[in-house]
Symmetry: C2
């Protein structure tokens, strides 16, 4: 028997997860393992500092006695217009939500446009008006901006970056490191609609009902919790990589085990059906108006009631808790009572979803 051949077969029979190679891959932007690897091997060694290392949706820092939150996101969603929203309101809500996840009150946004030569002026106006409306709803102001134009074929219509500043007016430290055993997990509604809405229009799929993106600002929902004294330990919006990736990141930072219950996780029937057709798991699909809240167990019932009263929290549910076991681990009990590990997304499920 040829030993070389044997060796190759052994290698082939044991597939390893894709390693970050010498080129950037689509999956490096997907919110999963490869993106984490890029952050840990390229960005963190260069930029590491205590504020960045909070590992949260927005960073918190104190300037002359005032606690501020600061965050940024670029939006490259394709196509830029989809059922329930467009790249404009996404760019507002996404950054407002990242600011809200530190419990801050969002105040000011910046807007950076990278336009491709030839992009229709009418589409730009539509996006800008959508940003303006979303900013008014979220009570934030655009105070600074920038526009660059790149040659035709060197961009894709429109990319938008927004950064945001919020002010923190409570004494809590909200973030992964505040998560404790016993904490109860709540989500503010059904999962997976944003990702499926974008995929459906991108792939030209038609479902019996139109699935609309869940894009929404979560600032008032968070303020409702905090102003009523809910001890929120961690808040995270469920964008790229969905619920599963968010929980894995938090379990990793907090070194805890998180146990969720599939039967309690709200997913609409049409979204579940679309996921089956497309081969997606709704736990990994991006949302743009959904969060998971880790709250003190004694506050969970009151938190659920408050969330359900908010316009962006109808359909809120308790989906699990932090166990006493050490971690990091995320487990899910399925509908027949069997528990399995919920891993982080390995590659790219839905490119350019936000």
């Amino acid at each position: 028997m040829d030993k070389t051949k044997n060796k190759i077969d052994l290698t082939l029979s044991c597939p390893r997860p894709l390693e970050p190679g010498d080129r950037v891959l689509l999956a490096h932007g997907g919110g999963g393992k490869l993106m984490n690897s890029l952050i840990e091997t390229v960005f963190r060694p260069a930029f590491s500092n205590p504020i960045l290392n909070q590992n949260h949706d927005s960073s918190v820092m104190t300037v002359n006695g005032v606690r501020l939150a600061f965050t940024t996101d670029s939006y490259v969603v394709h196509p830029p217009f989809f059922p329930g929203g467009d790249i404009g309101d996404l760019a507002v809500n996404g950054t407002v939500n990242d600011l809200s996840m530190s419990g801050s009150r969002p105040l000011y946004l910046s807007a950076g446009f990278i336009l491709e030569e030839g992009f229709p002026m009418e589409s730009l106006k539509r996006v800008v008006q959508s940003m303006s409306r979303a900013a008014a709803v979220a009570k934030v102001q655009f105070v600074t901006g920038d526009t660059k134009v790149v040659d035709k074929g060197k961009g894709d219509g429109i990319f938008i970056n927004t950064a945001g500043i919020g002010v923190i007016e409570h004494a809590l430290t909200i973030g992964p490191k505040s998560v404790q055993p016993g904490d109860v997990l709540l989500v503010n509604g059904d999962l997976g609609r944003h990702g499926i809405a974008v995929m459906a229009v991108r792939e030209g799929l038609e479902f019996q009902t139109t699935i609309e993106s869940d894009t929404a600002p979560l600032s008032t929902l968070v303020q409702d919790l905090l102003s009523n004294g809910i001890r929120a330990h961690c808040l995270r919006d469920l964008t790229r990589g969905g619920l599963a990736s968010a929980l894995n990141e938090i379990a990793e930072s907090a070194r805890v085990t998180i146990a969720i219950d599939e039967s309690q996780i709200p997913v609409r029937e049409d979204v579940r059906g679309a996921c089956e057709i497309l081969g997606f798991d709704p736990l990994y699909v991006a949302n743009e108006g959904r969060l998971v809240a880790f709250v003190d167990k004694d506050d969970a019932e009151r938190a659920l009631a408050l969330m359900n009263q908010n316009p962006h929290g109808a359909g809120s549910a308790v989906i699990g808790s932090v166990t006493k076991e050490t971690g990091p681990l995320v487990t899910m009990k399925n509908r027949i009572g069997v528990s399995r590990i919920v891993d982080m997304l390995s590659g790219e499920q839905l490119p350019r979803i936000c």
Copy 2:
């Protein structure tokens, strides 16, 4: 004689400046008239508010008693590596400089990367390390970031957005509206090097000497002026559109006439030569480490001495003053003593220069 023909000829004989049409043009990002038109017709109607309407490099706002500056810029420079710098230090220095132009002390930056699938990982590392070094020099920290990857052919290697927060610790209102008749104009060194350095490598031109970009952080230079009590009325960094566009914007906001003297404007001989070969006017060429300062006439001499002592101010010069005439107008006396109007850039001189 065919009347129709006559009509057409008349139209053709009177060329009008290009109007913003139904598509985005490269010149909409060029820092000149078309970009101003885009801002005034699309962005301002949607986003108008008193803070945005300060029309300055960074916006200034007060949060719980603390005066903050906030700004953003996207960087799409092509190619990303050029003599004297790269897109990484540009993305740090550009935003640090915008913050400095309000007299703020730059503190925190965000970084948003839009990478094209297939971009070499080594190039990304080089850019990130360059950002890290530039941030250390400018004494700012990256505290939040985001990475998106777009499909091959839908981007151009690497685009970077940075936003920044600075704190204002003086009582001055620095901006176009504080400019007064009698103010003296100073620049901190020779003009046009950044634009020519990028163009030379892009076009494969070879000059007798290598022209290096002037990219540099201007925060210490501005702090040197302010901490020594210089009454700086307006500061502006001379990026896209160069000195001529910056002065036109300020003259427009302040409704003043600005008179500059060509013989006093420092331009290196090799840069002047390259401009002649390429058909550029150095007054319109982008810089990335140069500012114009409008200072109280009684402080001008001291300001010049302070600027010359700073490592980024060797070669500073007084180049003109604000006259008693109403504006808006920018005039320049040439080397033989004749004055002419210096207009804003109409189209696009140097696309993707920053």
